[in-house]
Amino acid sequence: METYADLIECEDVLLFANAAITSTGQREFHSAAGEQRLSLAFLHSYIHGNYPDLYAATLALDINDHNAALIIANLLGRKGGHPGDARLIAWRLARMSPPRVYRLFQELRRAGVNNRRTRALVRDWLAARPDLAFDAVKYRSAVKSAVRHAHLRPEGELGDFLFAPFSRARYDTPVLEAWRRAHYDKNALYDLPYTVAEGFAARHGISRAVFLERVAPRLTRLERLRLSESAERDGVRTEADLAAMPLVRLASYVLSLAADVRTRRRGELVAALRASAARAAGERAGTWGSVAAVLDDSFSSFGSPVKRRRPLAVALACHYLLQALAGGYRGLWLSGRAEPLHARPTGPTPLGRRILDALEGRPGLLVIVSDGWDNAPPGLAGEVLRVWRRKLDPAGKVGIVHLNPVYDAGQFDVRRLSPMVPTAGIRDAEDLPALVELARFAEGRTGLAELRAYLEDRAARR
């Protein structure tokens, strides 16, 4: 039995899920960082206050790390809570990148949250780290702060390293010993993680080319990608493995290259994008039937200086992923450009016309990837979708989903194109299949009971 309260709850949770997937509290094209953070903080306290049981369960969704950290901080800061929460939090922490977890611990310390649950979580997380000595070198002050805050006593060398590093004449752990020797020995610093070695190299006055050449084997996957352009100028190849990158990050990298570089390395880049997309599609590859996509490359897909070309990168990643998932695929860019590799954010957003072009072929599924600002002319996309659903396709033979990579701070949600078409926030293209699933709930065909069951099922599977 559905009541209004159920409907509202259902909507609220989906609203929150969309926000938690898309917003990172950073500046966007249409809103400043402050607005984003204020809006997000309100949503968090609203959901936490009204649906405390569901609030923790949303950790099981594919929400981004920024919001996961916010949820965990809020959950730990308040008394009570569900017995299952701790397990879910521990699971989520294990999936977050270590710097972000350390930052979360530091924030907990700053906020004065130091209850038994928090200390246990910090202890367990630190105990589960594969190489804490490595962390201690790389994230020195953060590890120190976490250890202090959780009242831990790291035994042996690690305790000395953190709190009295020069009290020992030598260390037995290799990475700690390398750190000690790097202070005077130029050759020792190449055994340290890149970010630490960089500081020592500057101190020893080692030239950039020599340093990059020798530190190359120590680079992590992301450092390799990030450094590949600047290192190439110094004549060093970092051997970044593009195909192994997550799809959206790879798309971001491609979009950061100059047009002539993209033309020159066309074969390599397309192959990497295809391989990454095929990996993300997995066993679902080729099973989606005929798919058409309308992809937004208007000027607003530039994002902002802090999230450079993020919406465009998501659109580009979706293009390759949908190509891998679909049997027959047609991708339409708003600018009319045929070559997706040369996408760049420019021009207005004539969504209505492109949706018409896409519907012409009567695909089985139409996916629209756009930030929801339809301005040429405003509101035409919504009208086209409405008339299409009402008049030309009342049976819903063509499934239509709108995916939006941008959180709209003013509306506490991602912007919708039309109430007749489900809209879901998207951050990583890999989540696309799950989001199409989640969009089902937004359409109002399935109710709160199913949504709760879905959330609990996902939480239990974790």
Binding site: F299, G352, N375, A376, P378, R386
Partner: protein, 387 residues
Amino acid sequence: MIDLTGLDTRPAQTWGAMRLVPLVRREPIEDLRLHAKVYGDEASVVLLPDRTVYTAYVPHAFVASWTGDGTPAAAYGTQLGQPLRHVCVRTRRRMARRVDTNRLRFLPLHLAVEGFLALHFGGPEIAWEEWSRQAIAHGLSPRAEDAYTGAEVRGLDDALKVFEIYPGQCGLLLYAGDTLASAFVVPHPEDYRALHPTLIRDLYGELIYEYALFYPARDFPAAIDESAVTSLADLRAEAERHEREWAGFHDSVMAAGLLRAPARVEEVYRMGPYTLSRFLPSFERKSENHIGETITGADGRTAYLKTFRLSEAQSRRGHLLSELAAHGWNLAATAATLRISVPLLAARLERSGFGHLLRQDVMDAYRKQLNERTRRTRRGGAASPPA
């Protein structure tokens, strides 16, 4: 007179109280471009691959160092070809501020508007005895009008930042609170791209400044009549009709005040196929009054257009001055046309800030006449006027 044929209106974009209406040229004008030399360190150099002849224009808002000795100078109104008429920028003036040794940052349009107004209102050309020596010798110059820079207009910077430039866009009509603030047209899309951010440094009248504080401009959301649609082709036709209707509505209603023939057009310069002219409005009260400049091609196409909307007070002053100019600066004749007495006209001149143009003794005499008349009326038993 202002003819926007060849420029297509595209759907507007709104942000806050601002509405920005793009104008797109199907065929950009290739042989009239911004001169790279004048532009100097301000923007990129325009290179033409073939050796076609092209004409450059110097928009009145730009100041650069093109004098022989390298001192900065401001264009005295928009010019065609080599920039010859210029005002030297004196760095001690408040409107110019030295940034480093060889570059100045300033408010170029200040100079432009002042120079512009001085060009039009030179002052009395017949030396009637009422005018002061200063008015005869120097005219109305320097004549200053108050205006706000774009940076002071609330929300304009954000509106320009989030505006999505159309491919082939050569112009923009800017509305604040759905009141036309400024029109801006250039010959080539590349010029537009370079100049789009400079709209923030332009000047806008006080009307625009105040309207920008009002309620946000609303989009006109598209509405399609679903009963007329039976197939996808119908839907497409409806969508296209909607676009056409907006363009028609905009051109015939929203921009009508601008497109109505300006009262006075002055041809300034002719070079090759291009004519530079300045125009003045009719200075009618309670209607739109724009001053501006155009460059038109031989076929009448508008290659360049820049307007400044006058506020109500500015229109009144303009009206007064144009009436005076029309009657050869003769006070009696002007007063007769305005159907007021000469002393009242003098009082009106003083209220408008032109008191210094009349000789002091003449002014005093008029003032005395006025005072006496009011005293006499009061003595006649009428109630004293409200304070």
